[in-house]
């Protein structure tokens, strides 16, 4: 049925960046550069003085490049190479977004990692009896790291927290299994 293929396509596209921003920026810069060269050509054809550089001078300076000041040419070349490498990486890297897919019946569902983290933080802070502000959770593709700063004098049972977090994670039905890691700080905080 086509619903399954629509669902697959939509999920795959939601998990990866479309690279639209980078592509639009590059396209706009190219348009500006081309428009400038085009304007210079028109001006040269009309026999008027150039805006910045006449086309003939552009060609001449490219041909006579080795005579140009070495420092400027090398610096400009290095900048171009670095920019080029950044664009190549943007073009080839998968560009995964920080999201997870939920196993659901009706709709394809993607959830931001920060939503999973904030839900886990609530349960971890309840299980550990730690102030929510002293609970930090970060969720990545395969692990959820729970960081707890205990209240001074109140011990935190790490096994309890791990169990609560694992139970929660199992209940979310994430397609990519996420394992938990609970860290309890040595030094507590007074009050709270």
């Amino acid at each position: 049925m086509s619903t399954a293929s629509v669902r697959r396509r939509v999920t795959r596209r939601e998990l990866h960046s479309p690279r639209s921003t980078a592509a639009i920026v590059v396209a706009v810069l190219l348009v500006l550069a081309l428009a400038w060269v085009g304007t210079e050509i028109v001006i040269a054809l009309l026999g008027l003085p150039a805006l910045l550089v006449a086309p003939a001078d552009m060609f001449a300076s490219a041909v006579n490049l080795p005579e140009a000041p070495a420092g400027i040419v090398v610096a400009a070349g290095a900048v171009a190479v670095v920019l080029g490498l950044v664009l190549i990486v943007l073009g080839l890297a998968p560009g995964r977004r920080p999201r997870h897919v939920l196993e659901t019946e009706r709709a394809a569902t993607v959830v931001d990692n920060e939503v999973v983290a904030s839900a886990l933080a609530r349960h971890a802070s309840l299980a550990a009896d730690v102030d929510p502000d002293h609970t930090t959770v970060s969720v990545s593709k395969r692990v959820a790291v729970v960081d707890l700063v205990p209240t001074s004098g109140v011990p935190v049972d790490r096994a309890d927290v791990t169990e609560a977090v694992d139970r929660e994670l199992a209940g979310y039905g994430l397609r990519q299994k996420v394992s938990s890691r609970v860290r309890v700080r040595e030094n507590g905080k007074v009050g709270a």
């Binding site: 086509s2 619903t3 629509v6 669902r7 939509v10 999920t11 596209r13 939601e14 479309p18 690279r19 639209s20 980078a22 592509a23 639009i24 590059v26 396209a27 706009v28 190219l30 081309l34 428009a35 085009g38 050509i41 040269a44 054809l45 001449a60 041909v63 490049l65 080795p66 140009a68 070495a70 040419v73 090398v74 400009a76 070349g77 290095a78 171009a80 190479v81 080029g84 664009l87 190549i88 990486v89 943007l90 073009g91 080839l92 939920l102 659901t104 019946e105 009706r106 709709a107 394809a108 569902t109 959830v111 931001d112 920060e114 939503v115 904030s118 839900a119 929660e168 979310y172 039905g173």
Partner: protein, 201 residues
Amino acid sequence: MNSTNRGLNRLLLLVVGLLLVAVGSAAATAVLLPSVRDGWKASADPIRDQVASWLQATPLGGTGVSWIMPAVLVVIVLAVVLLVAFALRQGRGRTGTVVDESVGEHGQTVISSKVAEEAIQDALSARPEFVASHVTTYRVKRTPTLKVSVTCRRGVSPADASAIVESNLRALDQLLGRELPALVQISGGFRARVSGSTRLQ
């Protein structure tokens, strides 16, 4: 979700990146490496003569200028038009109808996507779990597909959020008499962080 051609985006980035690396490294080596530098200088004069002879050989009527320059201009204008079209094509693919069906001799049934969008958004805006919700309709593989984006309050379980949206989608299925493919996007974001947590369990 939208119809953005992602392969084309990546291709543009890749091609421009390769060009920049090639030009940049060519310029740098032409200045730094003596052998490349000498080769560049040696070929400078022949290239200049060659281009000059091309410009001479291609006169434009009696004006005394070559038609190569206007031709380059045309190519530039074409490239600009293509790039602008490319940039404007991003993020399209929304549709205004969810159902468009001819039912025999009695005519046609058309359901606007506003019906589906507003029904779901209305139901979701009443839920305390969500700070915001937004429903749009896209055409994916020629099938109208709903996109339901919800912004959760702090601490809301993704499973609960998904269950709420799914029950609303099922209600819509009943209403329309058919199942529309749907994508649910559950996000947090700035508004979720500053809006305080919910007291629901």
